[in-house]
Symmetry: C2
Subunit: 193 residues, 2 copies
DNA sequence: TCCATGTCCAACCCATTGGTTGGGAATGAG
DNA sequence: CTCATTCCCAACCAATGGGTTGGACATGGA
């Protein structure tokens, strides 16, 4: 077998994504990452340097994935409800990112990884939304930033606050993901109509 | 000085609230709780048994505080925007609870502390909202549970995802708490009108 | 063939941390 | 005064976990 350092690195990164998403930066165990990846622990330090740097790498990797997977075109900006639904679907099939984001929010009070790029990324989304607002296809009763914030908050909370969902929704036993998605889309559409 | 065991217990609990809110259940250090409280570490084990049990005590304590501090009367249910604003104010002056809630959501996937009481508590709120909906003073376009979920999610995210706020809102530099509160109230009113 | 590099393994180092223990001092009820 | 209780202090224990090291084998290019 040829040495495939890129593959080794990727295996470690994938395992780290799962580990960090599951247990958070504090609870994550370096040894467990290595075991998950089927790679020796020391490799982590060679490729990433430290647990913290590994976390940063994990976060950046997941950020790219999400940005690539759920775009927001000018036309789509007219229906943010649909956009929220697609973000929901992404989180549902890739439950790692949103948890990483939540942990980052709780732990990193000052600066976060790739803050500049991410700010730019969000600025693009906001520009798209603003354009739709000027365009008249989207309400301008609420600022574009506030709108995006609301969409992200509403979408993420289904995954980051599952205990709330359980305690709020259980009475009617209708808390399947389809229902959650529908509720999200409805709420966002109502917010933007 | 008389022995005041209730005070000692309370000092420990208060210190634990801060420690757990700041660092989370994993990052919290028992020794630091003791130091914060100015009480010896061993007392914690006498009064609470273990770190985990201390966390449960902390959570229950904060739950009671919030429930007592921000009620929702039948009349107030007509304006959920105002209610959201008051919850925001509570979180702003008592930033512990919402962080504890977020950590709980990430760590405790199955059961959480005092789940029954909390479910009941939320059921009351939902009943109030439902009454307002039947009453006609509140839209019934969205279910009561979904509405409460949205309100909580929108309110909490300002505190649990500060990095988002920074990256989304910074362009206009208008991200003071007053603005956040106003945006929240607007959004919720728009959602419920 | 030689050799730099990737990898595994296993042990190791050391700081941290949850939790315990024993001794002794303060307190206040009886 | 006596004594059970509360408390502090300091040391201690066992386990965990981040990070390192050294030795050995595989690989493939020069």
């Amino acid at each position: 077998m040829a040495w495939d350092t890129a593959r080794t690195r990727q295996l470690l990164l994938d395992a780290a994504v799962e580990e960090f998403a599951e247990h958070g930066p504090e609870g994550a165990r370096v040894a467990r990452v290595a075991t998950r990846a089927g790679i020796n622990k020391e490799r982590i330090y060679q490729y990433f340097g430290s647990k913290e740097k590994l976390f940063v790498a994990v976060l950046e990797s997941e950020l790219q994935k999400l940005a690539a997977a759920v775009p927001l075109t000018d036309e789509q900006a007219a229906d943010l409800g649909d956009y929220a639904g697609r973000v929901f679907d992404y989180h549902h099939t890739h439950p790692h990112f949103v948890r990483l984001l939540a942990w980052e929010g709780l732990l990193c009070q000052d600066r976060v990884a790739a803050e500049c790029e991410r700010t730019d990324h969000y600025a693009e989304k906001i520009a798209t939304v603003t354009a739709a607002q000027r365009n008249g296809t989207l309400t301008d009763a609420v600022g574009a930033g506030e709108l995006m914030h609301a969409v992200i908050a509403l979408t993420a909370s289904w995954f980051t606050l599952p205990q709330l969902t359980r305690m709020l929704m259980s009475p009617a036993a209708r808390s399947g993901p389809e229902h959650q998605r529908a509720a999200l889309v409805t709420v966002v559409r109502r917010l933007t109509s």
